[in-house]
């Protein structure tokens, strides 16, 4: 009998599969395709202190093996989530990872307090949204700022605090260490890579917001590399994500150092992707005689 249970920040996940915030709404829509209890947990849509309308459409453009998006954090606000959404998810059978983005340190602290009083298992702090002026990217690119923000929020946070890192930085390891030193219980990476696509005939960008975040298989090698590098320098566990399309991709992220792995953009193509992923993982473990999935975390053997 193989074991796929993962203890992440003191919480038991029945398997290492979660979803990336922003690709899964609040679970309602994808719950019509796959029972949410198939997942170890899922990342809920990013919340802000107050409701946000988001950016103008078009908000999506296809690129080679991926997409650019510029949703701009459209969401009903943290208070609505706490009062209405989270209670409806209480018995969904998977852990809920609430995700928050702030304009100021104070907003992050207030949201951490509000979310601490919900049934969310983990609070993920987005310091790396590329699509809004004050959606965190300004926080996420400077190590000292990340350290101070994490330390401040940690004081108001009664749940495990996971800091979501941006790949749009010079040194991801410096940012990761700064978050760990600030008291983060875990890290998640990568958020999207800032990108752009131009219609050569109209000479205008496809996205109304001009630039957006790149995700999908195109970013996977970058994400795997960053998870590997971060795993080498921190002790706290990692949620890896970026272009996962199969169980083999999940294994690859875990070998690089991820304890949990998120499905994201791949869901748009295959809404029941998790069923294939779980089958692939079981087959891999059987083929390689692995009894406990924890044994492969960070088990890459360098050349």
């Amino acid at each position: 009998m193989i074991n796929t249970k993962i203890n992440f920040c003191g919480i038991e996940f029945k398997n290492p599969i979660v979803t990336a915030s922003g690709t899964f709404g609040f679970g309602e829509e994808y719950g019509e395709y796959v029972d949410l209890s198939e997942y170890g947990g899922f990342g809920a849509k990013g919340l802000t202190r107050y409701p946000r309308e988001g950016n103008k459409a078009p908000r999506i453009a296809e690129t080679p093996s991926g997409i650019l998006n510029s949703v701009g954090l459209q969401n009903p606000g943290v208070e609505y989530f706490a009062a209405h959404t989270m209670p409806s998810l209480k018995n969904c059978g998977a852990h809920v990872i609430a995700n928050m983005s702030g304009n100021t340190v104070e907003e992050y602290c207030e949201m951490a307090e509000i979310l601490s009083d919900t049934d969310a298992a983990i609070i993920e702090m987005n310091i790396s949204c590329p699509n809004v002026k004050h959606g965190g990217l300004a926080f996420g690119t400077d190590a000292k700022t990340v350290n101070e923000l994490t330390a401040a929020v940690k004081k108001h946070c009664k749940k495990p605090l996971v800091v979501k890192l941006s790949p749009n930085v010079t040194s991801i390891t410096d940012i990761a260490k700064a978050a760990e030193d600030g008291g983060a219980d875990g890290l998640s990476l990568i958020n999207t890579l800032l990108g752009m696509k131009i219609d050569i005939h109209s000479r205008r960008p496809i996205l109304a917001n001009n630039m957006g975040g790149l995700s999908g298989p195109a970013v996977k090698p970058v994400a795997v590399r960053m998870v590997y590098q971060v795993h080498q320098v921190v002790k706290i566990p990692i949620i890896g994500m970026g272009g996962v399309m199969s169980g083999d991709d999940v294994i690859e992220f875990m070998l690089a150092g991820a304890s949990l792995v998120a499905l994201g953009t791949g869901l748009f193509v295959k809404p029941d992707l998790i069923l294939d992923v779980k089958r692939d993982i079981a087959a891999y473990m059987e083929r390689h005689g692995i009894e406990d999935i924890n044994d492969i975390i960070g088990a890459v053997r360098l050349n």
């Binding site: 922003g22 709404g25 994808y30 409701p51 296809e62 949703v71 748009f268 809404p271």
Partner: protein, 254 residues
């Protein structure tokens, strides 16, 4: 649980250059499909996202959809052969709402916007207005004529039928005839004209909108349109709240 389906392509034609008329076999989708809904199709050919394509007709365990080759995805789809299996999600979205009080219905379509209106035209005996750029782009005139009360075809360049924008033809018709609902699908300028006419005349109007989509089921929030409401209802999801909206719900400003 809902599922994606592999549907066999059983007929394929190109009625006019660049427009492809596909019929796939799927008893489930055919039974469930409502007028104005769409399919989310994995086109193949190395493209990544699915492409939303409206349902044109559904009967005899089969679903028909007609699309224009516009980019890589639709190009790859057009290259599929009879007997191939196509990966389809659907039917999706909120379609046209036909009500008992709709006694005098008008249907207006422009260009490739005429295709999503056919299943509706079969269900509601309507006066139909179809607009095209020119005579060489006219499609489905005979099929609409076989199910409608009347069909008026117009061309922007005047090469066939009514000369000018089809919304003007409809407006002239409405001067003399009763109408309690307008159903429309077509390019944004046409929809704006139809919306203005309907609201000026106080006629209920349902518009089918188009937007670049991601998930197709309402989770990813990329295919939004601007609504006339404020706050959290300011941006509606075309895939889930639509693609058909009451004209008074949407601004068409984006």
């Amino acid at each position: 649980m809902k599922q994606t389906k592999l549907c066999k392509l059983i007929s394929k034609s190109e009625p006019i250059p660049g427009i492809f008329d596909f019929t796939v076999e799927s008893p489930e989708i055919a039974a469930e499909a409502r007028c104005g809904q769409f399919l989310h199709i994995a086109c193949g050919g190395g493209t990544f996202l699915r492409r939303p394509i409206s349902i044109c007709d559904a009967r005899d365990n089969c679903v028909r959809f007609i699309f224009e080759v516009k980019g890589e995805g639709t190009k790859a789809l057009a290259e599929r052969n009879i007997g191939d299996f196509i990966d389809v999600m659907g039917p999706l979205g909120h379609g046209f709402e036909v009500k008992p009080e709709h006694k005098n219905a008008v249907i207006i379509g422009g260009g490739i916007g005429v295709f999503p209106l056919f299943l509706l035209a079969k269900q509601v005996k309507s006066d139909v207005f179809l607009g095209f750029r020119g005579k060489d782009r006219v499609v489905m005139e005979d099929e609409f004529a076989s199910v409608a009360k009347s069909v008026t075809v117009g061309t922007d360049d005047g090469s066939y039928g009514y000369k000018g924008y089809i919304a003007s033809a409809m407006d002239e018709y409405l001067d003399k005839n009763p109408c309690d609902v307008i159903f429309a699908c077509g390019p944004k300028p046409m929809l704006k004209a139809v919306k203005a006419i309907a609201e000026r005349r106080g006629i209920e109007c349902q518009l089918s909108l188009e937007q670049r989509m991601g998930c197709g089921i309402g989770a990813c929030l990329v295919c939004t349109c601007e609504s006339t409401k404020d706050g959290m209802d300011k941006q509606l999801r075309v895939c889930k709240n639509g693609p058909v909206f009451d004209s008074r719900e949407v601004t068409l400003n984006d």
